[in-house]
């Protein structure tokens, strides 16, 4: 008789908050994605277009909803175009990290032995490597721009997924249904593809949204140090670094809006991740 669901009055509406989190998180992301994709409809200016008539660092209002930045470009339109870069790179980087990590995790987890040790030592090395050094190295090898940043951030995040999937696979590989598949003569590849992999991805599905949030923050951090997207191009981290000097002088509109945009977007991912985590915990119990 499992007493664990005992009558504690304090624990009301168990698990419903999980759905609230997921809905709000997904809602925020949908709004941001829409605003970013339909960006051009809302603004007359291009991301790098200079408005000769407006002075640089013009106050918000009038032709420029959020004023202009130090180069005389419209902050509001850059905010929208930057969203594409940030969201695009974050999601792509996490996707690559998941694929790379999962493959490594399955191979290390299922076969074990020396292969497992070698792969795990490799992921140790990559995980111990500071993010910025890795990002710069990849930026230098592949040339600067969004593609290399995606690869750099993916490389930094892949070890976590490798470890996660490896732990799940090591648990699953001895379960009864895997033995059943073995006795019915399934090939190793078939076994991994149909039985082991699908069931070992549950934790990945939960962690991925959270990871997108962190990937975005890493990207913004790199741009802030000048290692990410080259300055004049629109990217939230770069916009913040461009405007740091001005905030102190009260010209907040160059730096604060991208900060808030980043905050809202990452919060969307975090809420979604937290909600999925809550529901996953409830299902497993």
């Amino acid at each position: 008789m499992s007493l664990s669901r005992t009558g504690r009055r304090r624990e009301k509406r168990d698990g419903r908050f999980g759905t609230v989190l997921v809905v709000t998180g997904a809602g925020i992301l949908a709004v941001v994605a829409l605003a970013v994709l339909l960006g051009p409809l809302f603004t007359a200016w291009g991301p790098n277009e200079i408005d000769p008539s407006a002075p640089t660092l013009a106050e918000p209002g009038g032709a420029h909803l959020f004023g202009t930045d130090v180069n005389g470009m419209d902050v509001w339109s850059r905010l929208l175009y930057a969203g594409r870069v940030d969201l695009g790179i974050a999601i792509a980087a996490v996707a690559v990290a998941v694929v790379l990590g999962s493959v490594l995790g399955v191979v290390a987890g299922y076969f074990g032995g020396w292969l497992d040790d070698v792969l795990m030592r490799l992921t140790d090395i990559f995980q111990a490597f500071p993010t910025f050094i890795l990002a710069l190295a990849v930026a230098a090898l592949l040339g600067s721009g969004p593609v290399n940043l995606t690869v750099a951030i993916a490389l930094v995040n892949a070890p976590a997924y490798a470890r996660l999937v490896r732990a799940e696979v090591r648990a699953i590989r001895d379960l009864t249904y895997v033995d059943a598949a073995r006795t019915s003569g399934a090939s190793t590849i078939g076994l991994l593809w149909r039985h082991v992999l699908p069931n070992s991805l549950t934790p990945v599905r939960v962690i991925a949204p959270l990871n997108c949030g962190w990937a975005m923050l890493t990207l913004a951090g790199l741009s802030f140090l000048g290692l990410g997207i080259p300055v004049p191009d629109a990217e939230w981290g770069a916009m913040i670094s461009l405007g740091t000097g001005d905030v102190v002088a009260g010209r907040w509109w160059t730096s604060v809006p991208p900060g808030i945009a980043l905050l809202v977007c990452v919060l969307g991912f975090s809420l979604l991740g937290e909600g999925l985590q809550e529901r996953a915990d409830r299902v497993r119990r």
Partner: protein, 336 residues
């Protein structure tokens, strides 16, 4: 005894990882485009000067010989001389590790205390308004870019309210702090220099707050989740069914079981914080390890980059080792 044998075995396992990091950095930093020598030559230098400077740093020798020299130096604790400053990298690094470690250790410690207290409370009042509020607030903190948060805190804390000292330097020089480890608050404590202690703590306040806000969320979630898992577990229900009083239940059955997973997550968060201190140090002009490593990177100061990456990697793996030992002590099921 057992723990010692486990630590030694794990330390031996470190060697291939650290060796891998050393080799990877050595090659990587030389593959990167960028010439470390030209940046230190004056406006009137000639090709001969460039060659002479290169020779001075041994860059003219074949690659493998440079590597063996570097390794033999490493074994004797000599990290080589910095190209930019001409000083010994070991000396420079020793002065900078203290402040950064102080910042990170303090922030992670505070975040862990907050996460434990609030996490346990939040688990015991699960799915109530307080619990939801705490979780969302922690998530908002975790979603902020730390450099942006630092900037806003300076703006409010220093420029606006004036409660905190200027974001430059770590301690007021007038307090004549004698540096021992480089970690100012620690040195002030060791030398019993009270004014220096208060000054360094006030300087530490905003950067630590910035880091804590960013890293408290994952820790809080882990403590809350494992506490909830314990509260809803069979053993806890069994103890409750045998009428054990609330205080005994919490102290004997909830706390230790809930904190079992905290050490390994704290290690992960520690690694994450080392990365974000580079940004926090920049905003607070902390003159710590992160900025020094980054400057070395931007100027391809080979010895500096190699030393900084090795030290960061070493800290990273040592922290994980400590986490595993603490985890093993907390959880009897783990055999070491």
């Amino acid at each position: 005894m057992r723990v010692l044998r486990f630590v030694v075995r794990r330390l031996l396992q470190l060697i291939p990882v650290l060796l891998g990091v050393v080799v990877l950095t050595f090659l990587l930093v030389r593959v990167l485009p960028g010439d470390p020598i030209r940046t230190i030559l004056g406006p009137n230098a000639t090709a001969a000067d460039e060659a002479a400077a290169g020779a001075r740093f041994g860059l003219d020798r074949p690659l493998w010989q440079q590597f063996t020299d570097y390794l033999s130096g490493l074994v004797t604790g000599d990290f080589g001389t910095s190209i930019q400053s001409g000083q010994s990298v070991g000396g420079e690094m020793a002065l900078r590790i203290g402040p950064t470690m102080e910042l990170v250790v303090l922030a992670v410690a505070i975040a862990m205390v907050i996460a434990t207290v609030v996490g346990l409370w939040s688990a015991r009042h699960a799915n109530r308004a307080g619990d939801h509020g705490i979780r969302v607030l922690a998530l908002v903190g975790n979603s902020m870019p730390e450099f942006w948060l630092g900037l806003v805190l300076i703006l409010v804390g220093y420029a606006g309210l004036g409660w905190f000292p200027a974001p430059s330097g770590r301690v007021d020089p007038d307090t004549d702090l004698t540096p021992i480890t480089g970690a100012d608050a620690l040195d002030a404590l060791l030398t019993g220099n009270m004014p220096a202690l208060t000054s360094s703590l006030w300087h530490l306040a905003l950067p630590v707050l910035t880091l804590v806000i960013v890293i408290v969320a994952p820790l809080l979630r882990s403590v809350r989740a494992s506490a909830l898992e314990v509260l809803r577990s069979e053993p806890y229900a069994a103890a409750e069914a045998h009428g054990l009083p609330g205080r005994l239940l919490r102290r004997g059955y909830l706390v230790r079981a809930a904190l079992v997973r905290l050490p390994s997550l704290a290690a992960l968060v520690f690694g994450f914080s080392i990365g974000s201190t580079v940004l926090v140090e920049y905003v607070y002009s902390w003159q710590g390890f992160g900025q020094w490593a980054l400057r070395g990177l931007l100027y391809r100061d080979y010895p500096v980059v190699q030393a900084s990456v090795l030290v960061i990697a070493f800290c990273y793996v040592v922290v994980f080792l400590i986490a595993d030992v603490v985890h093993a002590m907390l959880d009897p099921r783990v055999r070491i």
